[in-house]
Symmetry: C2
Subunit: 160 residues, 2 copies
Amino acid sequence: MELLIRNAIKEDMSSVLKLIVELAVFEKEPDAVEISEEDLIVAGFGDDKQFDCFVAEADGEIVGMALVYFRFSTWKGRTVHLEDLVVKEKMRGKGVGKALYRRVMEYAAEQGVKRVNWVVLDWNKPAIDFYEQTGATILSSWWQVEMEELALKKFIEQKE
Amino acid sequence: MELLIRNAIKEDMSSVLKLIVELAVFEKEPDAVEISEEDLIVAGFGDDKQFDCFVAEADGEIVGMALVYFRFSTWKGRTVHLEDLVVKEKMRGKGVGKALYRRVMEYAAEQGVKRVNWVVLDWNKPAIDFYEQTGATILSSWWQVEMEELALKKFIEQKE
């Protein structure tokens, strides 16, 4: 297998969207994906660029992707956030994920950030083990909080 | 008490940094803050703007702040991330935090995002209760992962 990790181009966004949906299914949220290919093209390649994306190409086919953007830590300054790293199911266990992961870390080092951050599901032990082996730290006492669109609307409308 | 919530200006960054340090002490990581006032000014008010900041002014004194920036969800598109919300210890319990929180949610609604996200420490029950009362959801099964600068350097240098 010839594996190539490269920066994504607009034309990859259709394959990238398929991988995003595949990850949502794996994470047991098959209906959570509201984004379109066009949204990805505008956000990734428009004037107001919102992310960077790497793809893994095996024998000419897109088999994986990693999507990153900057965040701002009030402790460390700029950080790189790894939002998604997905490998097509049939291609798992062949080093594709590791190659994408390494590319993300190289990118973060090139950008000179003091930290890379991402999240993991508590039941995803193989991922947790892998991250720890590479030197990452799991912070299980920091919980995610989300205010969704409808709840936000409702909250705004409430009298104080 | 006359309370004003407004957009931060450069000149507020000295007070904002003091609040950042106060929060780090509360979170039991007093030495974690590596950022300077100058870093905040460059990141918040330079050409490559990395965050937005709101401050709470009570009788002319800065007594709280909230710092936000955009993230990109591959499920929802652009989201607002609330990185920090801090109120000076002596001013807690007077509605300052709630006023800042409301301003952040209004900002998110103005920006048209589908989600606001932030994190909370699992032992911070008053905060968790407050967030849930306002309609937010706590996702305790998503854990934070961090690769710090030294670990990153070490990982990059390893042979594959």
